[in-house]
């Protein structure tokens, strides 16, 4: 027995030593982070600059997700095809992947992962033979370089639109801040902000600026390293001048009356352990990736002193961002809630293979019928605000969540800024909610 234990310890130590020294191979790194280095995907009849509309959509059905196909087929929108371009993530994140992720393994249960310091945990190509491939892709998203180590969206315009008559029912103006406490690669301090007594992984802070009835409403989400632990969420209501804790029921509720739930933020804003993840395959698909500076702008929503304007919307109900779509490699992953009382039956995520952001997501109701279509348009950082150039962040730039059953949508227009000075750590404290209130 004693000898067996010794052998076990020795093996464990050996694995730790091996994982500390081994690096992910260049082939794996190049395939994962630079898939368009040598060639870009193609599809018969598809050309850069063309428009896919009701007249030719059948020809391109295979490179559209079901919701986009339906919208185009119905004549709700049409999309222009852009050139497939590489959205290189920050070199520090790529290097962290190379150095630290060889040997990262899943734990026994969903939501468990072995020591992971930084970078993309599973850069290897997923396999349909791997029953936990979907879960690994979910981890790659969770520990992705989504907004880098820290970023803000200010301002952030949300519009609630009636899709039938294009009437804007509500406009909410907010600021969002993001901060990674751990797994930081590009902004000091790396790899972790200390002290961090509760072992937080990430935090999101939001404050409403308009309209009057929601003004000063603030939301703070603390996400922990331990994925099995539920987020701590706090809400400050301006009219109560009080911080309230949120139960998780509110994270699956219509956030401020929009078509999004808190769990929808960034494509998926929950725990890995809340879902059953299934990898459904890899395919080339049209995804909203573009250069912000080259897209049509909304002349009415916002214009800053330097002339920055937000993406324009058109199509049925003005629910569709007027951006170009690229043919890109995507992993198709199905996420089914573990909780039988969850308001949805599943999400289908089309994960961009290079950046691991979630630009297209289709959500199904409890009966299994298509309920919502969620687009998160991505701008290349080098063709956005000057401050974003070279940040290696795929910038969330134009969102629409369309409730296909209610014929209603919520659009979100961004001014995303990757600048850590705008998100000091004390922004993400409960005390800041009180201090920033009335």
């Amino acid at each position: 027995m004693f000898k067996k234990t010794l052998v076990s310890v020795a093996l464990s130590l050996g694995m730790v030593a091996a994982s500390a020294t081994a690096q992910v191979s260049d082939d794996v790194i190049n395939a994962s982070f630079f898939p368009y280095k040598d060639s870009v995907p193609s599809f018969e009849g598809l050309q850069v600059g063309m428009t896919i509309n009701q007249g030719n959509v059948e020809q391109f059905k295979d490179i559209l997700d079901p919701a986009m196909y339906q919208f185009i087929a119905q004549g709700d929108t049409e999309i222009k095809v852009g050139e497939t371009t590489s959205f290189d993530l920050h070199p520090s994140y790529v290097e962290a992947t190379r150095k630290y992720t060889d040997g990262v393994t899943l734990g026994e249960k969903v939501g468990q992962i072995s020591d992971h310091q930084a970078g993309r945990p599973f850069p290897q190509e997923p396999s349909l033979d791997d029953p936990r491939a979907g879960e690994k892709l979910a981890w790659n998203y969770k520990y992705g370089y989504n907004w880098g180590d820290s970023a803000v969206i200010q301002p952030f315009y949300w519009k609630f639109r009636n899709m039938k008559n294009a009437k804007v029912e509500r406009t909410i103006v907010m600021n969002f801040n993001f901060l990674n406490f751990t797994r930081r690669t590009s902004t000091e301090p790396t790899p972790e902000i200390t002290p961090n007594p509760s072992n937080m992984f990430r935090s999101i802070y939001m404050k409403v600026l308009e309209p009057f009835d929601l003004k000063n409403t603030q939301l703070l989400i603390h996400r922990f390293q331990d994925d099995t632990k539920l987020d701590n969420s706090y809400l400050y209501l301006g009219f109560q001048r009080r911080v309230r804790r949120l139960s998780s029921g509110q994270t699956t509720d219509a956030f401020l009356g929009s078509d999004l739930m808190i769990e929808d933020f960034e494509g998926y804003n929950g725990r890995i352990s809340d879902m059953k993840w299934t990898y459904k395959g890899t395919k080339n698909i049209l995804l909203p990736f573009f250069n912000h500076n080259d897209m049509p702008k909304d002349e009415e929503a916002y214009k800053d002193d330097e002339g920055f304007q937000m993406i324009a919307y058109g199509g049925k109900g003005n629910c569709f961002p007027e951006v170009t779509y690229q043919l890109r490699k995507a992993y198709v992953v199905e996420a089914e809630p573990v909780d039988e009382n969850h308001p949805i039956s599943k999400r289908i995520h089309y994960i961009d293979a290079q950046t691991f952001v979630l630009p297209r997501n289709v959500i199904y109701d409890r009966k299994g019928e298509m309920w919502k279509s969620f687009t998160i348009g991505q701008s290349h950082p080098d063709h956005h605000l000057p401050v974003n150039k070279g940040t290696g962040v795929s910038i969330d730039d134009a969102v629409t969540m369309i409730d296909v059953q209610a014929n209603h949508c919520t659009t979100a227009q961004f001014k995303g800024i990757v600048d850590s000075s705008l998100s000091p750590p004390d922004t993400f404290t409960v005390q800041n909610l009180r201090a920033s209130g009335n």
């Binding site: 007594p197 309209p211 009219f239 009080r242 949120l246 998780s248 509110q250 308001p343 004390d426």
Partner: protein
């Protein structure tokens, strides 16, 4: 110098002081303006119009460039209110109304209100100069002041005006200071106040039912928050000092004649004891009649003067420890509800002095308390707990008018969001319940308040049409008073500018009596059962339908 001028000078001086600290060219003249205009029209059963309140509120916020401070900001809220009910329903409210007997709006007549006590005098400063003089400075609004409640001697139309400055300290610590007229909110309770006692409250606006945000009476205060952020133990930690240097103001209970008078206290204060009754008492004792006129209930309001020793100070330490957020609170303040001190005709005499039965005082109080909230993963719900222990409070009693007692108050709250598909929406319903408890440590038999009492509240709120349509029901039950308030309502957000709210407020109860020694121990309503019945029971005849329309900008 009149009080009016003193208050005005103080407000202007402080505003100027704050302004002179700021370089003029650093202020963005445009700033950030917002606000609303609102009409609240309420209709009371068998009474008619009970509120026709028109409010315009402007809110201003401006960041100021500073090299010294990490951030510097000025905030202001200006509010103007006109309640037209006193012009549109002057048969029921205002200076011209008359009451058949004391408490006629909430109970039947009995020996106490028929023989011993006279009806209250509505708007005494219009109808009874002596009463007005006795109440000088407290619930003595004249007819213009009840119509335009923000325009008074205390310049309440300036609801808030303060400067906030954040100073970066060593490390990541921040010292955040706020100076000016403001609200400081402690605690986690809705509807009732346990720790949220720094600002007094204006109950004359709509009893206990308006948001506290709108009925707290802002005070001139200085607050300093030492924001320490996380350390090796706490995820967040903050120490707050509050110095309320404003002249003491009690809560406004509503002047007699106003449409909302919590506990009907305003009318009791302008009532009198019948001289016939008092002379009869003397006669039964074999003494000659001494009283030539009715004896007013209130002789004087002993309002503390402004001096440093009369200012109020508090300290709060709050933080986050894992899944728990907590606060520890200490406050030295004055009781904001009046305490009645009996004035005997002669030392030890059981009958009152001829020029008034009671003096109103506001004793000093020390409070120690704390709050905790905790998210339970197992229940997917949030528990809230709030506790306060006080010493120095004075509560009413049959003999001698009052008794000093230690008090313990607590609230246990439970909040859960639950999706209920059967109710036709995918949005979660907010289910919130709380129990407010009060324990009188030095309770005696002749106190109208029970030694232990509880008020339970329940809120059920739903959201439809992208949260624009929101029905809710609030139920509050006072166990001691055997009184219940039921308030269903529906609000509809038409667009970013327009909001309509339609509701009702129905009360049950108000039937409790108290054996009053002056009435020979008979169980009567006046004057002590107002405390037994509480704010819900005393308002038992105030069943209303309520319509509010707001335009925000």
């Amino acid at each position: 110098m009149t009080e009016h001028v003193k208050h005005g000078c103080k407000a202007i001086a402080l505003a100027v002081s704050a302004a002179t600290l700021i370089p003029f060219n650093a202020v963005n003249a445009a700033g950030n303006w917002s606000g609303f205009a609102e009409n609240a029209t309420y209709y009371r059963d068998e009474v008619g119009l009970s509120k026709f309140r028109n409010t315009v509120q402007f809110e201003f916020q401006n960041d100021i460039a500073s090299e010294t401070f990490r951030s510097l900001q000025v905030n202001a809220i200006i509010r103007a209110t006109y309640d037209g009910v006193y012009d549109l329903n002057d048969d029921e409210f205002g200076e011209d109304v008359s009451y058949d007997y004391l408490g006629a709006d909430w109970h039947d007549n009995d020996i106490a209100s028929q023989v011993i006590l006279t009806p209250g005098v509505p708007v005494p400063c219009e109808n009874d100069p002596a009463q007005c003089s006795a109440l000088d400075g407290y619930m003595d609004e004249d007819s213009d002041e009840i119509r335009f409640p923000d325009f008074n001697d205390e310049l309440d139309f300036v609801r808030e005006l303060y400067v906030t400055a954040d100073l970066q300290l060593a490390g990541d610590d921040v010292l955040s200071m706020r100076l000016g007229k403001q609200q400081v909110v402690w605690g986690k309770t809705d509807l009732f106040r346990v720790l949220d006692v720094i600002n007094p409250v204006d109950y004359s606006r709509h009893n206990i039912y308006d948001e506290l945000e709108d009925i707290r009476i802002p005070q001139w205060m200085f607050t300093a928050d030492w924001r320490m952020g996380p350390n090796n133990v706490f995820d967040d930690s903050n120490l707050q000092l509050v110095w309320n240097f404003d002249e003491f103001r009690p809560s406004n209970l509503g002047t007699c004649g106003q449409s909302y008078r919590i506990l009907d206290a305003g009318c009791f204060f302008t009532s009198s004891v019948s001289s016939d009754y008092l002379n009869a008492v003397l006669g039964s004792m074999g003494m000659p009649a001494l009283y030539s006129a009715n004896v007013p209930i209130i002789h004087d309001v002993q309002d503390p003067d402004w001096e440093i020793a009369n200012t109020q100070v508090g300290l709060k330490w709050e933080g986050v420890l894992g899944d728990v957020t907590f606060s520890l609170n200490a406050l030295h303040y004055r009781q904001q509800l009046p305490s009645l001190h009996f004035r005997a005709l002669a030392p030890g005499a059981p009958i009152p002095a001829g020029d008034g039965v009671f003096d109103i005082e506001f004793p000093r109080v020390n409070l120690l308390g704390g709050s905790v909230d905790y998210y339970s993963m197992a229940m997917d719900a949030v528990w809230r707990l709030e506790l306060a222990y006080t010493e120095g409070e004075e509560l009413p009693r049959d003999t001698d008018g009052h008794r000093e007692t230690e008090m313990a108050r607590y609230v246990i709250g439970f909040d859960k969001n639950q999706v209920i598909p059967a109710l036709g929406t995918n949005s979660a319903f907010l289910i919130s319940a709380q129990v407010f408890g009060e324990h009188i440590l030095d309770h005696v038999e002749d106190m109208p308040n029970e030694e232990d009492n509880w008020i339970a509240t329940f809120l059920f709120k739903g959201f439809y049409v992208n949260n624009r349509l929101s029905p809710q029901i609030i139920v509050a039950h006072d166990f001691g008073g055997k009184a219940t308030a039921i308030a269903p309502s529906v609000s509809y957000i038409v667009n970013n500018n327009w909001l309509v709210n339609f509701g009702a407020n129905v009360k049950l109860g108000g039937d409790e009596t108290f054996p009053w020694a002056v009435a020979g121990g008979q169980s009567v309503y006046e004057p002590l059962s107002r405390f037994t019945n509480g704010p819900i029971g005393v308002a038992n005849n105030e069943d209303e339908i309520q319509l509010t329309v707001r335009y925000s900008f």
